[in-house]
Symmetry: C2
Subunit: 729 residues, 2 copies
Amino acid sequence: MIRTIFTSFLILFSFAVNAQTTIIGFTEENTKKQQQLESAFEAKLNAENLDKWMQRMSAQPHWVGTEFGRENAEWIQKQFKSWGYDTKIETYQVLFPFPKVRIVELTAPTTYKAKLTAVPVEGDEYTAQGDALLPSYNAFSTDGDVEAELVFVNYGIPADYEELEKLGISVKGKIVIAKYAGSWRGIKPKLAAENGAIGCLIYSDPQDDGYVRGDVYPKGAFKNKTGVQRGSVMDMPTYPGDVLTPGYGATKDAKRLNRKDAPTITKIPVLPISYEDAQPLLEALEGPIAPKAWKGGLPITYHIGPGPAKVHLKLEFDWQLKPAHNVIATMKGTDFPDQWVMRGNHHDAWVHGANDPISGMVALMEEARAVGELAKKGNKPKRTLVYCAWDAEEPGLIGSTEWVEDHKKELQQKVVAYINTDGNGRGFLGAGGSHSLQAMVAEVAGTVKDPQRGVSIKERRSAVNLVNGGKEAFSLYALGSGSDYTPFIQHAGIAALNLGFGGENAGGEYHTIYDTYPHYKRFKDPEFAYGVALANTAGRISLRLANADILPFEFKQWHSTVSTYLEEVMKSCDTMRKEVEKHNNMVDKNVFELAADPRKPFKNPLRKEAVPYLDFTPLQNAMASLKSSVTAFSELDIADLSVTKRRDLNKQLMLAEQVLTSESGLPRRSWYKHQIYAPGFYTGYGVKTLPGVREAIEQKNWNEAEEQIKKLAGTLNDFNAYIQGMTTM
Amino acid sequence: MIRTIFTSFLILFSFAVNAQTTIIGFTEENTKKQQQLESAFEAKLNAENLDKWMQRMSAQPHWVGTEFGRENAEWIQKQFKSWGYDTKIETYQVLFPFPKVRIVELTAPTTYKAKLTAVPVEGDEYTAQGDALLPSYNAFSTDGDVEAELVFVNYGIPADYEELEKLGISVKGKIVIAKYAGSWRGIKPKLAAENGAIGCLIYSDPQDDGYVRGDVYPKGAFKNKTGVQRGSVMDMPTYPGDVLTPGYGATKDAKRLNRKDAPTITKIPVLPISYEDAQPLLEALEGPIAPKAWKGGLPITYHIGPGPAKVHLKLEFDWQLKPAHNVIATMKGTDFPDQWVMRGNHHDAWVHGANDPISGMVALMEEARAVGELAKKGNKPKRTLVYCAWDAEEPGLIGSTEWVEDHKKELQQKVVAYINTDGNGRGFLGAGGSHSLQAMVAEVAGTVKDPQRGVSIKERRSAVNLVNGGKEAFSLYALGSGSDYTPFIQHAGIAALNLGFGGENAGGEYHTIYDTYPHYKRFKDPEFAYGVALANTAGRISLRLANADILPFEFKQWHSTVSTYLEEVMKSCDTMRKEVEKHNNMVDKNVFELAADPRKPFKNPLRKEAVPYLDFTPLQNAMASLKSSVTAFSELDIADLSVTKRRDLNKQLMLAEQVLTSESGLPRRSWYKHQIYAPGFYTGYGVKTLPGVREAIEQKNWNEAEEQIKKLAGTLNDFNAYIQGMTTM
């Protein structure tokens, strides 16, 4: 009986699923059992439950600290209990600002007072709940009262400030207005403040999720002129979670920072507004016409300013500690109770949150219900399954972060992997996470049927990749941030996944009063077919991790993926060098000035510092060694391993991801420990792979780049030794 | 005394202009004389004349057949006469439609009657001339009265109909609405009719030349909501000029086609409208959301239809013969009176035409005036200079085409080259034409100062090329169509150039009532500095051609340019083959269907016919032979040539371009004789180089591609023999 553990995914490509004799991490015998279990699991999934529960949980707004949020948590706990889980609610006391004063007004050259209110729409009674709806604001904006000339800064990302520099326009002492999109929203006030601005407005341009994209609500799914995207602007790339308790749990008696010292509250006041409120402000701007790529979908000529538009922005918040209720439901494993497979989804929303997060929450619950039913019939998992419903995700991943910080030591010993979900839609599987899990996820994706097209969700994903010019092979995207996997993978070094369906459910309801049950039913996943597909996918993954003979981590795909990251980084350095050379050559020839229109604003660019050649060989050598090691490891055969050896190997495997972290973390943000994946310091949610090295290069900090190369090479060499250790143990 | 004729342009790159001892085509002695002459010429140019004359000629609308147009022609004649030219007005009787009835109305699901009127604006009295302004229409639309559902077709170009095909939407029996831009306007009704539409509306979307681009008139230069672009939709890619007299002059007694048989009048009625009039029509469309790239700048969701919007379009024209007055002014050459250097610009406009064409016309006149003054002082040209002011260019290059057709034999014997100008603006030299003239034009461009930056116009052009990612080296673009050079180069095989400045004078006034003197003064070339630069550039080129010892044609740059065309064509064929293979592979895997959203319209694409390998070796061999020949020719030395030999060589050189034509012309449009350059059959103005071969490939007509390869190889071999003949004569 020859079976290899980690190369069986290759078989998948040559044989039909039914012909497969083993799945990754399972003996032939246990493969059959597991497949039967998963079929039984799938048979229990019922879309009607998702529909019913969504109506229940999204009936009223339920942001952290609300009565309805607490009721939801208790109701969720009750459900889990009824399905046979041990349940508890773990509550943290977290700082949460509620808006008391919100004023945005144009004071010159004409006047306009922003309405700051979204209108209820016909056919959606949820939007008519009036004062029960959370006013639109950006959580963790500082208080402020400022008045200044306005400057339009496009998306307000680094490239936009470079463009302003070229035009000789400064935002110092000004209020900026930036479009939503292009980056995570918190980057906008952060960069604005770094550039000297004293206030920041963010608006949803119709080009990004309004009428330019499609018909607006209620006719269509997109944002109407009054819709406003709420959201956190906490400086999460520095650290997420409670702003007053960095790195430790916000328990009742925890030592807290003084709010004035909390580094992740914005430096300047920031408020989101609708495009109805933005238009009069933008129309009042003069100065240079915005570059082509900056223009939005409003029927105006976009000028940059500064002024003559002058804006008064006044914000005051009620800063209070609020209880964040995490629901934790545990199904103890029969064989390895101290090996935990964790699942999570948040339950708090900005308003009703039918899509975000309830659509993911109901899928998680249906998965847990089916697992519970199987357990009642004797099919208990070998490892412990832990289902979590997080609170306070919206204001900054607070519930999950505090819980992970609070339990970090135990989690780092016990958790096999954390599988996250969040809002879910219709279309294609999007799966991100630790690349040591890629082979297993691909295998599972090959077994789950797409509800609309009948083929596997893996085939459908491949099809859309090909049509969009991408690759056919299944792959996990790298995790940046934006949901509750962050504290697990980025901080605790726990292997993580993030799963969801989408691509056929575009809309503009995100974080507005329009993310309601009627909107979801019309435009997202009307039959909850993809909700069931998500439960099916995440459930199979959880059950495989829970029951595997050898934990299904695979490192050859990990290696080839990380190799592409290294190539990217090296190439980006070469590209940057060539661009700087070209630029300097053009500066020397005075080409920029000669090409410039004398009637338009222009600042002659300066020469740039040359990009040195960096020594990447420590990384190349580490990756070369790893190639041999992961190949040797892949040739291990379950059949050759004794029960004791399997147990020992599993203990090593579940901790492997932690070897990729460093206790000292990333420069200037030590909370982020992972050396392969991190959210970008200037992208927010967007991932930066090999972040220490990549960001040092992007920020042209060559000394730091060299240090980070050495540090990362050390991490990779440790990982190499770890894998060699597992192979020869 | 070692001087080569044709390689002296190389010297230009290594020495400063003053250090240059010869210019192309001149002996050392005559180089000095010519440089002195050109300096004297430049010194006489006076911007005030351009300003004054523009006010005179753009005071009232002056389309072909108007009283003011006739007055302009006579006034121009009078000026030339006063400067010492022999002048005449040559008049042709050409068909010209004037709009009698124009109705566009939305008849369902709501109603709207299009206003079809541009509003006068404050500060521009010319826009308030009311009934004197030509109503907005497309000349050579057929009469028609149709009512049907509307379909939005983006720009209405071939790629858009491919997209509609993918969505399963037909325009058969419908009225289409297309945005201006993306192609020459006449392509839109042509393709619409080919696809079965029964009517066509064209509107100016604010994204293309309205508020999205910049502030609208009168605040800024761009098109306000009522502006409408007039323009011809005659099928000029088949043949330009009078629709009733294809290939011969529209003299008073010429035999004329019956209007019903004129192939270049559109098959369906077509009318241009403003974005104010377009918006209610577009808003009334339902059906699929337009693809991202189709969306314009109106504050609406762009749907494609068909319907429920229903449109009634009724057009009736007064079809009459009108006199087109070409002004021809001749300054006889002292040494070679039967060798003509020709300059031309049209004088007719759609409305006032301050920019188009008067800005170019006044530059031509100032050039001619200065040349006349020099002649009066004894500096007469050695060859004959002919200055032309064409009528009826706007409706379809009619004045120039009829004149060329009428005098074709004589012109083919006598014309050295034709140098065209048209509307002129501020910024960078744009020069297109026969690549045998590229080296000479580059040399001239190196001697003309840019009015704003002080460097040569060649350096400034290089600078903007570099900033836009292009090449530093000076090059001529290839001529398609769109102005009066077309009958000369495309039909008669006369070497031609088209010159103008632009890039810093964007606006939306083109062919509207807003192309006025005040608009020009505020937004185009306020001091007429670039008008003078144009006169300077075109004048120097004309004087060099007129006085050269050996006509300054150079074939090494011609060869390298045409070689890149051949490479492009071969590469496009390979690219097309790979794309078809990829497409068919995806069809075989059913990837398109699997990737499609079942809730959106989708038509599963079919397999495409495989692209064969074409035998390009006849062209490669011809170009290889030509490489040797042009090199040998470039090594000829003026000093080695007797006066008789020079004379004989010049006679050959001036006819060389004709060797690149074929009497049988291009497939399905024999009027177009040139084998290297033609306007695209489906682009209109946009050039297709090596058109016979390139368009056969684009249209996947493989037999024709093979025939055209042979034909073009024959032409190139003839040209090779001709150049060898000139070298060894």
